[in-house]
């Protein structure tokens, strides 16, 4: 799976703002919407966080209406939740930050 460069850059900028040293969050895109060779209408974004308060911080930081270049569908999990449901593997998610 190849992720559109525009989407990748926008998400990395967002991730850097929320978690500058990248120690608390992992950012993934998934689904056909982020494929480079298509024209997606939105981005399926999944953020896996170390703790509940980090998850809440991510929600507050991400303005789904103002994200460039496309609207976001946002899923936020803790590491424990991701391990329970296997969302990264199940959704064939690609880590971008």
């Amino acid at each position: 799976m190849t992720v559109s460069p525009d989407v990748t850059v926008a998400i990395r900028n967002l991730a850097e703002r929320v978690d500058p040293d990248g120690s608390r969050t992992m950012w993934f895109v998934f689904g056909s919407s982020a494929l480079e060779h298509r024209s997606p209408a939105d981005v399926d974004l999944m953020v896996v966080c170390d703790r509940d308060d980090t998850a809440d911080e991510v929600r507050r930081a991400v303005d789904v209406d103002k994200f460039a270049p496309l609207p976001i569908h946002l899923s936020i999990f803790t590491v424990a939740e991701e391990e329970e449901i296997g969302a990264v593997k199940q959704r064939e998610a690609v880590r971008v930050a």
Partner: protein, 216 residues
């Protein structure tokens, strides 16, 4: 503020291949000409938090009646009174991105978001539900038959519902009894169930929730 929002919506709709022209006919009204179809009027509201009846009522007092109402920002929620008023007008409501979909409805005023309509119909058709009313766009009050107490249900748009989804629904919509995942697939995490319990609520996917409606 509304005039700015109206211009922003005009700009967005002008890029759509579904429409041949979009014209501002008032500070808060746009006339949209559908390619090979009838024109309709979109009303624009600018409420940052919650759209209520008093925000939408003036739009219908003008000479050109809107068939669709949208709000900027789209993150704001819609109160049940506003929704009931819009539907009775009759008109539809939704995000800017839904206007192209609404344009395909005949007439535009009958457009309803498919997923929300599905859940509303499920509630209405349940044998233990006597009455369904809208509290907010994604929150329904289900009055049940007999001695069963009413339940306030918040719909959560998630494939897998997490604890954060439940907390966010509470932040956005306030108290509810049930957080219901809006997808037939995926799961509700253990942490989501725990988060719901910590607020005196429960978290379900639809198949489990339909059974829950039969219980106290």
């Amino acid at each position: 503020m509304t005039a700015d929002s109206t211009s922003w919506v005009l700009e967005k709709l002008s890029t759509s291949s579904s429409f041949s022209s979009v014209t501002k006919v008032d500070d808060d009204l746009l006339q949209v000409q559908v390619k090979d179809g009838p024109a309709f009027v979109v009303g624009v509201v600018s409420e940052p938090k919650c759209v209520t009846k008093i925000h939408v009522e003036p739009l219908f007092a003008k000479s050109k009646k809107p068939s669709f109402i949208t709000n900027i920002p789209s993150s704001a929620i819609w109160g049940g009174g506003a929704i009931d008023f819009i539907h009775a007008a009759p008109a539809a409501f939704g995000r800017v991105g839904e206007i192209s979909k609404a344009a395909k409805a005949e007439p535009v005023s009958t457009y309803r978001e498919k997923n929300l309509s599905f859940y509303e119909r499920c509630f209405e058709q349940h044998s233990r539900v006597a009455k369904v009313s809208r509290v907010f766009d994604r929150v329904f009050l289900l009055e049940r038959t007999g001695a069963l107490k009413p339940l306030t249900v918040a719909l959560v748009e998630a494939y897998d519902m997490s604890a954060e989804d439940v907390r966010n629904a509470r932040t956005v919509y306030g108290k509810f009894d049930i957080a219901l995942k809006m997808s037939h697939y995926g799961s509700v995490t253990t942490a989501a169930q725990t988060a719901a319990e910590s607020m005196g609520a429960e978290a379900f996917k639809l198949s489990d929730f339909l059974g829950r409606l039969n219980r106290k």
